[in-house]
Amino acid sequence: MTTATEASPPSPPSPPRRRAGRGTGGRRPRQAADHGAWFLVLPALIPILVLSVGPLLYGILLAFTDAQSGRTAPTQWIGALNFRDLLHDTLFWESFRIGLVWAVGVTVPQFLLALGLALLLNQDLRLRWLARALAIIPWAMPEVVVGIMWRLVYNPDAGILNETLRDIGLGGGRDWLSGLATALPAVILVGVWAGMPQTTVALLAGLQNTPRELHEAAAVDGAGPWRRFRTVTWPALKPIALAITALNLIWNFNSFALVYVLTSGGPGGRTRLPMLFAYEEAFRYGQFGYAAAMGCVMVAVISIALAVFLAGRLKGGDDA
């Protein structure tokens, strides 16, 4: 309430105020305000409908047409033909598989590393400020720059990675990004690096919401670090951890810029994520309808995964 009085200097605080605030919620002078609400909402609602919901529905429609760029013949309605083709498109399903490997391969190690760092940063350690400052870098960098930077690190001749490996006696250099076997793990490592700060900060915020007294009580009861983590830290952290993991999986599955800059999907399609595939299909080969169908399949799969995840989460919430 002190902030309340500070924030409205023109009139001195008086007791009636407090009563008005609490008890008379229904009596607010807001009969006419519902029109006001529309007035407040429209400036954002119109662009959302015109430039987001509309194009989305249009995109779904396009998936059922043979729309192509730069063609003179009119676009035809072809029903589910795109989807039938897609079903038999082994390259697409291969990219889908790569997308899943990439999404899980980035999200899981990233979560574990971020959890470790968050736990460390929650301690009274000396270099904490430095870690926080450094964690800003990957977060603030344009993805394109992250990609470029790691290309410099991975560079077979002038890169620091091979030089370091040579220095510690792990043999000659490799061209990590163009090796058939190494390309996907190499880009996954970059993905982990790039997304770690956000996950760390989210988890750190979760940690700082855990009451300290609980930890101290558990410590007094003789619980070791692992037990304290399991019984005190993790239960409090779980909602944030689940939410950030779900989001990371989705974001990673849909990612584009990082891998586009690192490998453009190569070598031989080994890092061709679904978004890269759809981008090429739409804007290199001009197959708008077919690419839209890919987008639809991606949305469908993500929605189902999200629904399953949320259902599981709600169930877990009942137990807790």
Partner: protein, 277 residues
């Protein structure tokens, strides 16, 4: 509290490992940016340039229209941030203060929009913008960025609105202030820091954005910085490493500075939005 010495040592070792992991690619970028061609061609690259030079920066500006690209990025990001925040703030207010069907629909849309593969959005947008003759134009890109920034702007702003106690507004109403007056003289000043933080965040995301810019901007003089940066990497992936590093470093500086300023507010805003929804 009572952490044992070996445990402390372990913690510091782990922290140090994290610091190295976070820092080394960035340090390598810096090192590369200041190396003369002779050192870049060396078979045994070193961390510290023996003969540091600014030639890479000059060459970067000579090779690609970096200044124009930075200007395009600045325009697009600035316009997108200002417009997005201007139109999102009133809506965020309504969403935060009322439990209407509209508020629920907006919250649902914010969540769904996070799950979206942008191809499904960009193909129709491309066709629409093409018909409006807004392909290869910064205003066209701004339209897309505004809509793209709206979900998280709403999310963050709604969190900030919830942090303003409704009692304050009711008190002002009881004191005889009209609704608009209440919003302008009580709510807006308290929201101002949150609005600025949201705008800066929208600015950075637009400044860093690549996919939409790649699809919508065709000619070098219209392209934004991230797209122009990719031109340094040749068709075969062969790059002039020095200028590439120099340009990449320059492109990051604005984001780093802005981000350092608002980092705490962003996480605060996103989490209040997330926890209280």
């Amino acid at each position: 509290m009572r952490t044992s010495t070996p445990a402390r040592a372990g913690q510091y070792t782990a922290l140090l490992a994290y610091l190295v992991f976070l820092a080394f690619p960035f340090l390598w970028l810096l090192s590369t940016a200041f190396k003369p061609p002779r050192e870049l061609g060396s078979l045994h690259p070193t961390w510290i340039p023996e003969d540091p030079t600014l030639a890479n920066f000059r060459q970067a500006f000579d090779e690609q229209p970096l200044l124009q690209a930075a200007l395009n990025s600045l325009l697009a990001a600035l316009a997108a941030a200002v417009i997005a925040v201007l139109i999102a703030t009133p809506m965020a207010y309504v969403v935060a203060r009322r439990r209407t069907r509209l508020a629920k629909a907006v919250t649902g849309w914010v969540v769904v929009s996070q799950a979206f593969p942008f191809v499904l959005l960009i193909i129709p947008l491309f066709l629409v913008l093409k018909n409006l003759r807004l392909i290869n134009s910064v205003p066209g890109l701004v339209l897309v960025y505004v809509v793209w920034a709206l979900p998280f702007a709403l999310w963050m702003l709604a969190g900030y609105v919830r942090a303003v106690p409704p009692e304050l507004e009711e008190a002002a109403a009881v004191d005889g202030a009209g609704r608009l007056r209440t919003l302008v003289s009580v709510t807006a000043p308290l929201l101002a820091p949150g609005i600025v933080a949201t705008a800066l965040f929208a600015f950075i995301t637009a400044w860093n954005e690549f996919f939409f810019a790649l699809v919508l901007l065709k000619t070098p003089e219209k392209q934004t910085l991230p797209v122009v940066l990719t031109h340094f990497i040749g068709a075969e992936g062969v790059a002039d490493l020095g200028p590439l590093a120099a340009a990449a470093f320059l492109a990051t500086l604005p984001s780093l500075v802005v981000f350092a300023i608002i980092q705490r507010r962003i996480t605060g805003g996103m989490l209040t939005g997330a926890v209280k929804s």
